[in-house]
Amino acid sequence: GAGVSQTPSNKVTEKGKYVELRCDPISGHTALYWYRQSLGQGPEFLIYFQGTGAADDSGLPNDRFFAVRPEGSVSTLKIQRTERGDSAVYLCASSLNGGALHEQYFGPGTRLTVT
């Protein structure tokens, strides 16, 4: 079956602009995660959805970052007033539910470059 998909694959934007990154999880997966991976680093947690609600948004770095999952499937990560420091690969993962036993399946990521 289809895995986690993310669009766009690459996004270049100018400093100060607004961007949206999309994640399509595996069908039937209720848990969805966003991570950010800066160059040469491991992924860092941003936010976790269980169904439509954000169960844990403690990893969002500031109020310029926001994510939604209105119907419990597709999620959009939104970044306002982008800064050069936001340049990174944004990874999305989904799992059957949020239980610790369930594997997180990752998408290929969106590489965001802020110029």
Partner: protein
């Protein structure tokens, strides 16, 4: 908060040889899960192997095995009979078993870039 440390930024191995990647972690929790993920240039993270902390037996998946030392908080990955396709960035990761209090996130190390030489 939990931390994961990988002290080897780069490692190399000859094809068909064995290599061990190191990982240490810090936690005050008693129950948790540890993982090794592989990230090739395509960027997609692929689960290689998983270890439950309550299990004393080290996990094994074909050519991949771990050496889990709970008291030392050490979790190394051994790759036997290395193949060219094993070349990638490898990440060690931690996940709490207490999702109600510690959340469901993965905490990753900095990664080890593995090169396999023909």
């Amino acid at each position: 908060a939990q931390t994961v440390t990988q002290s080897q930024p780069e490692m190399s191995v000859q094809e068909a040889e064995t290599v061990t990647l190191s990982c240490t972690y810090d936690t005050s929790e008693s129950d948790y899960y540890l993982f090794w993920y592989k990230q090739p240039p395509s960027r997609q993270m692929i689960l290689v192997i998983r270890q439950e902390a309550y299990k004393q037996q080290n996990a094994t998946e074909n050519r991949f095995s771990v050496n889990f030392q709970k008291a030392a908080k050490s979790f190394s990955l051994k790759i036997s009979d290395s193949q060219l396709g094993d070349a990638a960035m490898y990440f060690c990761a931690y996940r709490s078993a207490f999702v109600e209090t510690s959340g469901s996130r993965l905490t990753f190390g900095e990664g080890t870039q593995l090169t396999v030489n023909p």
